[in-house]
Every structure is written in C-alpha cells, then in structure tokens.
C-alpha cells in the first residue's frame, strides 16, 4: 500500500476508509460497572479531601494557639475545634490525666503520612510535658506549696489535652489519606 499523500483530500479519504472497530472495547454492563466504580471513587476522594481539610484546619488552629501562647485553651473548654465526623476524645476538658494518657496510648505510634508542622507540634508538646514532669517531681521532693503543685498539675493536664487533640487530628488526617 503506497498511498498518494498529496493533495490534501487523498490522505483524508484513505484515513476515512480505514476499517473501524466492530465492537466497543466492552459491553454496556461493563461500562455501567466501571462508571459506578469511578463515581464511587470520586465520591470517596471528595469525602477524603473534606476530612483531610477539616483535620488540617484543626491541626493548624491548635498549632497556632500553641505557637502564640494563648494562656488558656478556649477550644478545650468549648470543644469548638472538635472534628465533625468522628467523636473527639470524650470530655477532654474535664478528663483525668490518666484517661487522656490511655487515649494517647491508643493512637498509632507513627502515622503513615508525617507532616512536619504537626510532628513539630507533637514533639514540642511532649517536650513541655516532660519538663513539667521534671518540675513536678522536683516540687514534690522539695515539698513545694500545694498551690504551686496544683498549678503545675493543671498546666500538665492542659498540655496533655492539647497533645490528645493534635494526635487525634493527625490520626484523622492520616486515615483520610
């Protein structure tokens, strides 16, 4: 086959004359199955994006609150930053430190997807809790005033609550991925 490519119309005629597919690549039922799978995937992707966005906003807000040194954490008191899809750690504001410790232990140790900002917030909080533990131990040994011990204990509880929230948001974002 040596088609004459000039003038313009000759090639067009030859291309139009090429044999076409007799059948589509798959039948209508397969098309429907693939369409349903695609729509399901798109729906899951939208849902995942929504979850990830919510979790990211929560993490960023917590990080900002911690970064700019808010004296008290209003979100702990009001529960305003709790994620909408999965229930947050129940009663974080009033929970006993032991309860929060147990909750923390329940989170996965290392998220599959590590965000540097979130990781920095987590390690920062853990460092500050460790420092407070040192201070508390020293204060108990030195038989410091009860009010001072209570203040340290309250600060530790507050930081623990913040850590629970950050880890919770991190886990949510991880699951959404």
């Amino acid at each position: 086959m040596h088609p004459d490519l000039e003038p313009r119309g000759a090639l067009g005629r030859q291309l139009r004359a090429l044999p076409g597919e007799a059948q589509p690549p798959y039948d209508f039922h397969e098309f429907q199955r693939r369409a349903a799978a695609q729509m399901e995937a798109a729906h899951a992707s939208r849902k995942g994006h929504l979850l990830a966005t919510t979790a990211t906003i929560a993490v960023l807000t917590v990080v900002l609150l911690l970064r700019f040194g808010v004296a008290t954490s209003p979100w702990i008191a009001s529960g305003a930053l709790t994620a909408p899809v999965v229930a947050p750690p129940a009663g974080t504001a009033t929970a006993q430190p032991e309860v929060m410790e147990r909750w923390l232990a329940g989170f996965p140790q290392d998220p599959a997807l590590v965000r540097v900002g979130t990781r920095a917030a987590v390690t920062g909080l853990e460092d500050r809790i460790a420092q407070l533990d040192d201070l508390l131990s020293a204060a108990r040994l030195e038989r410091t005033q009860r009010a001072r011990l209570d203040a340290l204990q309250q600060e530790r509880t507050r930081l623990l609550g913040a850590l629970v929230q950050v880890r919770y948001a991190e886990t949510l974002a991880d699951a959404a991925q």
Binding site: M1, H2, P3, L5, E6, R8, L11, G12, Q14, L15, R16, L18, G20, E21, A22, Q23, P24, P25, Y26, F28, F31, R34, A35, Q38
Partner: protein, 189 residues
Amino acid sequence: MDTAVPDEVLARARLGDEAAREVIYRTLAPATFTFIRRVVGQRALAEDIFQDTMMALYERLPQFRGEAPLGAWLRQIALNRCLMYLRSPWQRARMRLEASELATGCAPNMLAVPGYRGDSIDLERALAALAPTARAVVWMFEVEGYSHEEIARAFGRSVSFSKSQLARAHVRLRAWFEPQEIRQSCTLI
C-alpha cells in the same frame, strides 16, 4: 459515525431509561472508540477516554437539543476529551521526553523489530507511528475537516503550530511509504 438513533429511544434515554441507553451505547460506542483510538493511539488510554466520553454523554443527554446528529455531538465530546489529554502538562512533558526516541524513527508506543519489511507497512501503522499531537492534527485536518485556525484554538497554540505539525506529519508519513531496505521498522506493542 452518524448512525441514527431513533427519536423515541433518545427521548427515553433522556429520562434515564437503561434499555434505551444501552441501545445508544451499542449504536455509537464502536465508532466512538475507533475515533478515540485513531487520535490517541494507545488502546489502554483510548479505553479510559472512551469511558469518560460515554459517561459525559449520559450526563449531558438531557441538555442535547438535537440540532446535530447525536453521533456528531458525541464525536465532539470525544475529541474534546482527547484534546484535554493531549494538552495536559503531564502529556506534554512526556512528549518532550520522547522526542529523542522519535528521532530513531520509532514512535514511543512502538517496538523496534529488526528485519521488518517496509513495503508491508500500511497506513494505519504509519499513522500509529506519529507522535500523539501530530496524529491528532492530521486527523482533525484531514478527516474532520478542521481549519488550521480551529486546530490552533483547540490546542491553545498558534496557526503555525498546526501548519508545522501537519507538514512534519506529512513528511513522516511519506517517509514510511518510501522503499527502505535497511531501515529498522517498528511494530505496535
């Protein structure tokens, strides 16, 4: 491709009747797939674009006003989907990467087979050997009857882009049909 779809079937399909939609599928799908395959070349990719095209058809069916045959309307959707793929930054980067491979005389989706005789290469094979953009330009100009201005608009490029793509494609197509005893030929993988 302008296989007629009865008005009554079209009306039922617009209302979501599955049987009517299946009739439309059976009527138009083979030609639509052939068209996409010609433009993009690779079968797997053509299947993906075909799936998107047919989904778009059923989604937009209620908006179809019947001013043109349904087949022509579907062909336009298919062409737009192919162009979306060809214009995507990923595809353009890939084409740049493969430009050096083209210099060897083998299209990116072809496999060099020593000893293949040039005189048995047909037009389909020659078309498949073109780069995707060149193939789309050839098809739009020669078969669909688009002008260079329209092709340039479709690709978001200049008129000279369309003209040079077509001229180079013609040169390459001619080269395929010249007797070549030594050339390493290519076959589709």
